[in-house]
């Protein structure tokens, strides 16, 4: 489900369909406050992220405070309030990856895309986040684009990976 963004006012316009979908999800969970996390999960899987307008709508449906919803959304790193890029890049900053130079990789990605952690490129293609251990320490340092895992990434690989996604055909195989 797409959300229209009024970039000038940084406001999100929810279409009738989008509103109906959120309402349907809340109804599916019986409007129970205790189901808030599941509701947020379901809504984010439909929209990709949880902007203020959607949080307000959920609060209204469940008859709870918007601040409470906001507290839950900000607490769990799985939830995001900014739209992720078409190709979300996550870099592992766990111990193994870190000691094998993950920070250099992170800086290189930031430099190449000109964005910070938690941000999305203006063209909407890439977003960047770091995470803690994907359970592939043997491949450190590890980088993920969407579900795809790249192991033993060197600083020089970053440009290549990014340009492949820019070209629209992510065929780069994992090194293992």
């Amino acid at each position: 489900m797409e959300i229209t963004r009024d970039l000038k006012n940084h406001k999100v316009q929810l279409s009738e369909n989008a509103i109906a979908l959120v309402k349907k999800i809340c109804r599916r969970f019986n409007y129970e406050e205790g189901e808030l996390i599941n509701i947020l999960h379901a809504v984010q899987s439909q929209f990709g992220y949880l902007p203020a307008e959607i949080q307000e709508l959920i609060a209204k449906e469940l008859d709870i405070s918007v601040a409470k919803v906001y507290g839950v959304v900000t607490f769990y790193s799985f939830f995001t309030m900014k739209p992720k890029g078409k190709y979300p890049i996550s870099l592992c900053m766990g111990t193994a990856c870190y000691v094998r130079g993950a920070e250099n990789i992170l800086n290189e990605i930031k430099r190449q895309l000109n964005i910070d952690e938690g941000e999305t490129t203006p063209d909407g293609l890439f977003s960047l986040s770091s995470l803690r251990c994907v359970g592939a320490c043997g491949l450190a340092p590890v980088l993920m684009v969407g579900e795809k895992v790249y192991g033993r990434v060197a600083q020089a690989d970053v440009r290549k990976i990014i340009s492949e996604y820019k070209a629209g055909c992510p065929t780069h195989p994992s090194k293992e």
Partner: protein, 596 residues
Amino acid sequence: MTQKIQLNINGFPVDVKPGTTILEAASKVNVTIPTLCYHKDLCVAGNCRVCVVEVAGQKRLSAACATPCEDGMDILTNSLKVRNSRKHIIELLLSEHNADCTKCYKNGKCELQLLASEYKIMTQDFIELLPWKDYTIDMISPSIIKDDSKCIRCQRCVRTCAELQGVNALTVAYKGDKMKISTFFEKPMNDVVCTNCGQCVNRCPTGALVEKNYVEEVWDAISDPGKHVVVQTAPAVRVGLGEDLGFDPGTRVTGKMVAALKRLGFDSVMDTDFSADLTIMEEGTELLTRLKKALKDKDPDVKLPMATSCSPGWIKYIEHMYPEYLGNLSTCKSPQQMFGALVKTYYAKARNLDPSKIVSVSIMPCTAKKFEAARSEMHDSGYRDVDYVLTTRELSIMIKQAGIDFMSLPDMEFDRLMGESTGAAVIFGVTGGVMEAALRTAYELVTGRPVPFENLNITAVRGMTGVKEASIKIENPLKEWKFLDGVELRCAIAHGLINAKTVMDAVKAGKANFHFLEVMACPGGCLGGGGQPIPTNAEIRDKRAKAIYEEDAWKPIRKSHENPEVQKIYKDFLGEPLSEVSHHLLHTKYTSRQRF
């Protein structure tokens, strides 16, 4: 027979009931354990850890506030291990805290500063984390300043907003080192559902949440020879102010307060109690008019129950949460705003003063009154009706700054014209008070006889129960009120917005059958207001309430309609309750606001 638990604290044996925490048990043997996140009014959080104690046989220290006593426990509250840990905990809290204490509004009143002073924290063993903290200072609200750099994340404010007020304007956002106390999307407090009640301000241990203070502005006005500065004092201030100036809780300091205000240089010291009496005249008449429309004229559009409108926290709450019930609110302005509108009209005329030269100041137990005075509709005198609102705490600051030895002051009387009050007005400061005052007048207006209660004390509406209900049967009314004969006038009283929610949800569900509803936003009513001395808790609220009822009992006149200055203002200026002049100056409209 209830089971007893026996334990030792620092070697002293103590017996407690099951469920008692170590902290409560310690206070029984006069052992003080420091706390920060703990507050008597709130649920236990156990997050600040400064109350850690050693339990013999246990390797880890326990938080005294969150650990129930067990039989045979041997507790040390001052061992070397406890002292060192506690000191480290305070140091860690300070490493994230903007400890620029001399420039802080709470300097000398901050619980963290006090602990740092007690434990003589002279060194800095931990890296200063504040420069990396993402913090904001929100000064937009006319009532409350929120400064995240001072926040120790004890969450007293969040618990207050949720548990006592049910407003949930504040939440805990993010986690770990990024955790912060935030509104929805970190909007300014003024842009969210915050009612400005200031209960969070009253409970914040540091300077993270404070009232916006107008002390300097008031000093400037007093020092300006071209200005005539009038001050009014709310009923609850006189039973709270003493606590900040050396007296025990529950001390009535009315006369000393008047004397202090005169010494501060106010040109006229008058009483909000006067306009509280006036409120009863207007609101009582409004209630009877609505009852007449409903019962006699069978008007289907009349809105009942009618709700009181004295508490600006309650007004903003209903504007956000139940905007469809704004018609149920009495149209009466609060006593503060009635007084303000009259100062620049009635008083100015009587004293032959240019209203543009009058500065009208009010001393309130309340932070929401600052917002109320700043509302755009509160300009009916042609000027801003109340220029500055100071809390009880701010008045004590001025008194200290002026070098006044408050305890030795003689008692003085309010100035005349708008300084006379009755016992009915005094009890506006306690939950149930407006109801009791209204009943004393309305019943007599309708029947020609005083309310049928011993010494006019309507005890059914008194006390600290969250929601109170009472009824009074009207018998043998005067001729024009014949339609009320045999009618059981039913009332409900709520204090603390969480209780207002209970009542309003009942109204919404059609389960409420009462005619008149009193709501005060703060627990205990105004005497427990957000602007009252810190600490405020149940025990202190009880003492202040006792003092208010003493003041009422002591007053020679105890019914609003018998206030001679109220009678005079109707004769000379207003005409009669709900007259055209009254409508223009003393009544108002409300604004529907968003909840989401």
